[in-house]
Symmetry: C2
Subunit: 108 residues, 2 copies
DNA sequence: TATCTAGGCATAGATATTCTAGGCCTTGGA
DNA sequence: TCCAAGGCCTAGAATATCTATGCCTAGATA
């Protein structure tokens, strides 16, 4: 988890969260996470696209081809109802595990 | 990261932290993490022992055979200087990544 | 016009980590 | 005598991430 590394298992949650306000395309998801995290997190494309594929298969997102603001052919992703549910679930699980970690770090 | 699942990549940090106050044996490490986390975290033995092996190889911990309070042959692990360093480093990296995650979850 | 850079999607393979599911031994109590 | 619990460990599957590519296009620039 050095420099700009992600915490494994959290990428899906971050993607879903970034999609919550509305559909955006893949490349922009990575940029958005980087920017919103104040450059602390960096999503590699080799992690991003496979993650999106997984989420498509699970039915958490849907994708439509379109054209970006910069006039490029892009794939817009948007949350499904199942995706919204999944996001809540992942946030809950993460918070719970995080509480556990903090307790151990604090009290050990 | 459901029920009692760990956040991947954090197990080493937790083990090192639990070893900080002094040597304890493997089985007790898992119990200690479970208990300190208020039962939120559960370390499986199939995760624990391989993790300890890795940390031995890296030189972050050392091990000595001994006898437990319950009169059983056990392996006591203790932090090395490198291990203490590693712990600090992992905590820093984790905190930084966590800040990033929180920022994304909050602002997206 | 030709070329380069950046935007953008995607996959293959290596690497790392965790979990499931076992195996094996010992101690102490019923 | 038997069994539950304490204790160490490994093999194999599953998962996720990263590195390194490949390919295509639009727009700027030489």
């Amino acid at each position: 988890m050095a420099k700009n590394e992600m915490i494994p298992g959290t990428l899906g949650m971050l993607i879903l969260r970034v999609l919550q306000p509305g559909p955006i395309h893949g490349y922009a998801i990575a940029q958005r996470i980087h920017q919103l995290s104040n450059e602390l997190l960096q999503v590699e494309e080799g992690s991003l696209y496979p993650a999106l594929q997984r989420m498509l298969l699970k039915g958490w997102v849907q994708a439509d081809w379109g054209v970006s603001e910069t006039n490029r052919k892009v794939r817009f992703y948007r949350l499904t109802a199942a995706g919204r549910k999944q996001l809540q679930s992942e946030i809950n699980d993460f918070d719970r595990a995080l509480q556990g970690i903090k307790a151990v770090l604090a009290k050990a």
